[in-house]
Amino acid sequence: MIAWIDTVSRWAVPLLIAFIPVYGLARGVRIYDAFIEGAREGLLLAVRIVPFMVSIFVALGIFREGGGMALLVGWLRPVLDSLGIPGEVLPLAVIRPLSGGGALGIAAELIRRWGPDSYVGRLASVMQGATDTTFYILTFYFGSVGIKRTRHALAAGLAADLASVVTAVLVVRWFFGYP
């Protein structure tokens, strides 16, 4: 099972990189022009991410270096340990439903600080990829058609966010063989 999943991870990106241009050409797309146009947008996107990165890196840097992180993790240790969640990913779990750019910043910081192939780094990677910005989608989508009574949509979205944190922990521990 794990070997099979690992094969999927290894092949997914190369196969897509080969498949997409072939598919595009077959459908009559001018693939090189399309690529350049999209790539230009990618550059703008990267520039737009910079403020998010700096704001989050600085806030997290102050929180950690100042000693706030150690205190918080110390207080919550009994709860976190029983769930197997490392305290370091706590800010990511809190910010993920609130701000897409903010969450990306935290994931980037954790991956940088702890190393991409560490437990925290892998967990942050999976958590970042597995959910979306619940509050943003809710306010934006419902707001666009003037819905005020959102009923159980927020509760369902947050339940999914919580579930994704727990499943990320379980999947990463199972897949990479952490105790």
Partner: protein, 195 residues
């Protein structure tokens, strides 16, 4: 909300440093962290640019539509309140497909279109319908086939195997989507009983 969390992080750090008598650590953290933030973006600009170039080809080739067609039979039973040939389902499928392919900017217009179409089926215009709640729950737990940004981040941080998280992410995201659907169903039933 994000304002509060951001402020708490900064104040928490400053207060803890002050209490422990090493306030200089705060200033140093600001300098190094700001620099690290910019360096991180620079580190993955290249992959980002390449991936969005490739994504544009996929978009123009109609890959979103193709994926939406494949998924239609799976998603029709999840939205029983939408009439069979109503455009709402098409817009929902396009939105979910674009999200799966990691095309966030393409997903949003389809999402807004889906909400407009769903609103046409709504008798109480300020109150969300069952289908809207289900759509939002699915959308917030979005299934991503290739988490390109995360791969880029990992690669720029010198990971030995940047794509090793692709399949674990897929497994986690499928489970969280299933939980989203289950929670949506459960809360809807509870709402009927008590609301």
């Amino acid at each position: 909300m994000i304002d509060l969390v951001w402020l708490l992080l900064i104040l928490g750090g400053v207060a803890a440093a002050a209490a422990e008598g090493r306030i200089a650590a705060v200033t140093e953290a600001v300098m190094t962290s700001a620099q690290l933030g910019v360096e991180t973006v620079l580190g993955f600009v290249g992959i980002m640019v390449f991936w969005l170039g490739l994504s544009r080809i996929a978009e123009e080739a109609g890959l979103i539509q193709a994926l939406a067609r494949v998924m239609a039979p799976i998603f029709r039973p999840i939205f029983p309140s939408i009439p069979r040939d109503h455009p709402a389902l098409g817009a929902i499928l396009m939105n979910l497909s674009a999200n799966m392919l990691g095309l966030g900017h393409a997903a949003t217009p389809f999402g807004l279109k889906a909400m407009q179409e769903l609103q046409k089926l709504n008798d109480t215009p300020d109150r969300a319908t069952d289908a809207m709640c289900t759509f939002l729950a699915l959308n917030t737990s979005s299934v991503t086939l290739i988490p390109a940004t995360v791969i880029a981040l990992r690669a720029s941080a010198q990971s030995a195997n940047p794509t090793e998280i692709v399949a674990p992410t897929l497994v986690a995201t499928c489970i969280s989507s299933a939980v989203a659907l289950a929670a949506d169903y459960l809360f809807r039933r509870l709402g009927r009983r008590f609301g």
